[in-house]
């Protein structure tokens, strides 16, 4: 199984509007209703116009029909052939819309005609323009031959009845009503969609807040756990140091004093290592990669491992000779130690730990790599916990037993070194944790050996020490004095500048980085470089972010805590050669 850092996937994001901006602004339920109303009104107007047109057409048709009739009946009417006249008129019966048809002589007297049930013909008729009365249309036409008026024909035509007209408009009406309904439904659904959209966004926003609060509380909880674990460890270290000092005061036996000093130093070293680990987990500790031979380095850890793991755990290291990697050697050791410690804890009744390494061939796209695996035959890790074991502060150990930072350090180290971690675990059978890190070519830097106190004489050269912490200032002052330097302390950068303005009678400036006042260490170094360019300066800090920024500007740096040997060496490099 490969564990990769989980990239936080945003649960929510700014979701785009449902419609393009301008459209979205006007697409409100009100406008939808207006659109529907417009549709309805235009539909009605269309129907009315249509009705009027149909009526006018009907009038025209009836008038034409009357003209045709008038033209047909002219001779029968002129020569009183009422039989032929009646036949002409009866021909109109084929049209059920014609309710009555009559022929009148030149004086307007009724001559012949027919009517359908429910209507009648007037006795006398004079020509008139078409008249619509109720649902009846009445038209007349003059019967003429040449210039001679022969008579009048009279037609009464039924306009379409309401049911028939309604039937004719039913299709269109249905369409319009459907369209109105559609628009209305669209409007309503869009409105509800928008409401849902808004509430969804509110929901997302509130969820983000809750998540942020949850993260905050998790952080606090983790802080609590860390505080508990670290405080316990530190208390132990302090206990060693305090009791050691107490015992030193009560004894004059040089051998015992030496033993106690060694114990105190060991406790202080462990404390320094612990803070170093914390910084590494927080990935704030700069790595110092070196090309190392894996076999040499890990074989050198044998004793450390055996001492740390205790009785009952057998360590078997087997590593090929020519495996080089470029990593921070101390971090590698810590990582191996952390894995081994976890292995030990997984084997309460004892067992074995196998440390193996082998080279992995590379490809066109991938570098050659080295797999360093540490296997145990312990209880294994439950599958559901596999994804959590590298999380900071995750621990299955009781309070005070573990900080939950061990494997987190391993993860941080692997990632910082351009590698990965693989975990294989079978509950009840054991766990194998493998570091896969890029293989290096090149020559190893020989193992750094602590100089055997080759202290250089300071020759009473004066150093301006800028440090806000009294204890630290006193101790560093003591160390400088021990090395033969003269030191004068300033509490802040501002005070240091004031002192230098009085008289710049110093060979060097040694300053803390983070201090109260308007200037920090870097600012001070800049000012000094401008004002007194011949005065060398060195910074000291225990905070890795500050260290990184100082290093990026090329300012000499001492990382706290440092030993007197380190201090001596750095001072020698900076100002030793001059004199």
């Amino acid at each position: 199984m490969k564990i990769a850092p989980s990239t936080p996937s945003p649960i929510s994001g700014e979701t785009g509007p449902l419609l393009p901006g301008a459209l979205a602004r006007i697409a409100t339920p009100l406008t939808m209703v207006l659109v529907a109303l417009c549709l309805l009104v235009s539909g009605l107007a269309l129907a009315l116009h249509n009705d009027r047109t149909v009526k006018a057409e009907k009038v025209r048709q009836a008038s034409v029909q009357a003209q045709i009739l008038a033209s047909s009946v002219v001779a029968p009417l002129a020569f009183d052939d009422s039989v032929a006249l009646q036949e002409y008129l009866n021909a109109l019966r084929a049209n059920p819309e014609i309710l009555a048809a009559g022929a009148y002589d030149a004086q307007g007297r009724f001559v012949a005609g027919y009517t359908l049930v429910g209507t009648n013909l007037p006795d006398r008729v004079r020509p008139f323009a078409p008249v619509i009365a109720g649902r009846d249309l009445t038209v007349t036409a003059r019967v003429t031959q040449g210039d001679t008026a022969v008579g009048i024909v009279y037609l009464r035509v039924s306009l379409e009845s309401w049911p028939r007209r309604a039937a004719r408009y039913l299709g269109v009406a249905a369409l319009i009503i459907m369209a109105c309904l559609l628009v209305a439904v669209l409007g309503i659904s869009y409105a509800s969609l928008r409401t849902a959209h808004t509430s969804l966004r509110e929901e997302i926003a509130s969820r983000e807040k809750v998540e942020e609060a949850l993260r905050q509380s998790q952080k606090l909880e983790a802080m609590g756990q860390l505080t508990g674990g670290v405080a316990h460890d530190f208390n132990n270290l302090l206990m060693v140091a305090t009791s050691g000092l107490d015992l030193m005061e009560r004894t004059t036996d040089p051998e015992k004093i030496e033993r106690l000093k060694a114990g105190i130093r060991q406790a202080v070293d462990r404390g320094a290592k612990l803070t170093q680990q914390l910084l590494t987990f927080a990935r704030r500790s700069p790595l110092h990669p070196e090309v190392i031979n894996l076999r040499e380095r890990l074989t050198g850890m044998d004793a450390l491992l055996e001492r740390s793991l205790g009785e009952g755990v057998t360590v078997d290291v087997h590593i090929p000779a020519e495996l080089w990697v470029e990593v921070d050697p101390s971090q590698l050791e810590v990582a191996v130690l952390n894995i081994a410690l976890n292995a030990r804890d997984a084997m309460p009744k004892g067992g074995f730990i196998r440390i193996r390494a082998k080279g992995l061939p590379g490809s066109k796209t991938e570098r050659e790599k080295v797999r360093l695996s540490i296997a145990d035959n312990g209880t294994g890790i439950a599958p559901e916990m596999l994804s959590q074991i590298f999380e900071p502060f995750f621990t299955t150990k009781g309070v005070g037993r573990g900080t939950g930072l061990g494997l987190s350090q391993v993860y941080g180290f692997a990632k910082s070194s351009g590698g990965e971690i693989e975990v294989e675990s079978t509950p009840g059978e054991g766990t194998t944790i493998s570091l896969v890190i890029p293989r290096a070519t090149g020559v190893a830097v020989p193992l750094a050996v602590d100089p055997a106190v080759p202290l250089k004489a300071g020759a009473n050269r004066r150093i301006l020490l800028v440090e806000d912490d009294d204890t630290v200032a006193e101790m560093v002052g003591e160390m400088l004095g021990e090395l033969g330097y003269e030191s004068e302390r300033a509490e802040t950068a501002d005070a240091a500048l004031v002192r230098l303005e009085e008289k710049a009678d110093f060979e060097m400036l040694l300053s803390d980085m983070v201090m109260p006042g308007t200037l920090n260490g870097i600012d001070l170094v800049h000012r000094v470089a401008e004002r007194w360019p011949r005065l060398p300066a060195m910074l000291m800090t225990g905070y890795s972010a500050a260290a990184a920024s100082a290093a990026s500007e090329g300012i000499p740096l001492l990382v706290k805590p440092y030993t007197i040997q380190q201090l001596s060496a750095e001072l020698e490099v900076l100002i030793g050669g001059g004199r």
Binding site: S72, V74, D80, A91, Q145, G146
Partner: protein, 202 residues
């Protein structure tokens, strides 16, 4: 002459069988044929005929030359006048071809007068009534080719004439000799032809 009549099923569209004459089988106005009327008191029959005489005019188209230069439309009566004042009453105030109507009674004069000969009498329509007993009454003589509509009464008067009143089933009807009318340059409307008892075509 054989008359074959067939009614078209639709009025207004009378179909003519080839070369035959069609009976316009319409009963005419219910005018009972009464006793022969005297000149002084025209019967209802004569009144109808007088009315028809006027009503024929709109259905007839005269050639331009017939009316050229005329200020009046002249209806001439030759022989006995069966209508008396009735005809004058019918045409009073009426116009034919936009011309006021004048009724001229020619007596037993011959057709030459009616054709607008030396006597300068020009008729557009000539009704020939019963003539004198003497055999030389020929009202239509010299009218060949002249645009004069000639009307006769089958019951009384000379033979011939483009339109001839007949009595059928007690109703006054008419026969039309369309051939003669056309020969004289007159066009009779098919509407009128359709109403005729018989139409002669030559």
């Amino acid at each position: 002459m054989a008359y074959v009549a067939r009614r078209s099923p639709k009025p207004g569209r009378l179909r003519w069988s080839g070369g035959g004459l069609v009976w316009a089988g319409a009963a005419l106005a219910t005018v009972l044929v009464g006793a022969p009327a005297s000149a002084s008191t025209p019967s209802l029959e004569q009144a109808v005929k007088a009315s028809y005489l006027f009503k024929f005019a709109p259905f007839i188209t005269w050639p331009d030359r017939a009316l050229a230069g005329s200020k009046v439309f002249t209806i001439c009566l030759s022989g006995d006048d069966p209508f008396g004042a009735v005809l004058d009453d019918v045409v009073r105030g009426q116009r034919i071809a936009r011309l006021p109507i004048v009724v001229r009674r020619l007596g037993a004069a011959t057709g030459g007068i009616a054709a607008g000969g030396a006597g300068r009498i020009s008729c557009q329509m000539l009704f020939a009534g019963r003539g004198p007993q003497a055999g030389d009454y020929a009202p239509f003589a010299d009218l060949d080719g002249q645009p004069v509509l000639t009307v006769t009464d089958a019951g009384a008067g000379p033979p011939g004439g483009m339109i001839r009143f007949v009595t059928q089933a007690g109703r006054i009807r008419f026969q039309i000799d369309d051939g003669a009318a056309r020969a004289n340059g007159l066009v009779i409307s098919s509407k009128l032809l359709g109403l005729a008892v018989s139409v002669g075509r030559q």
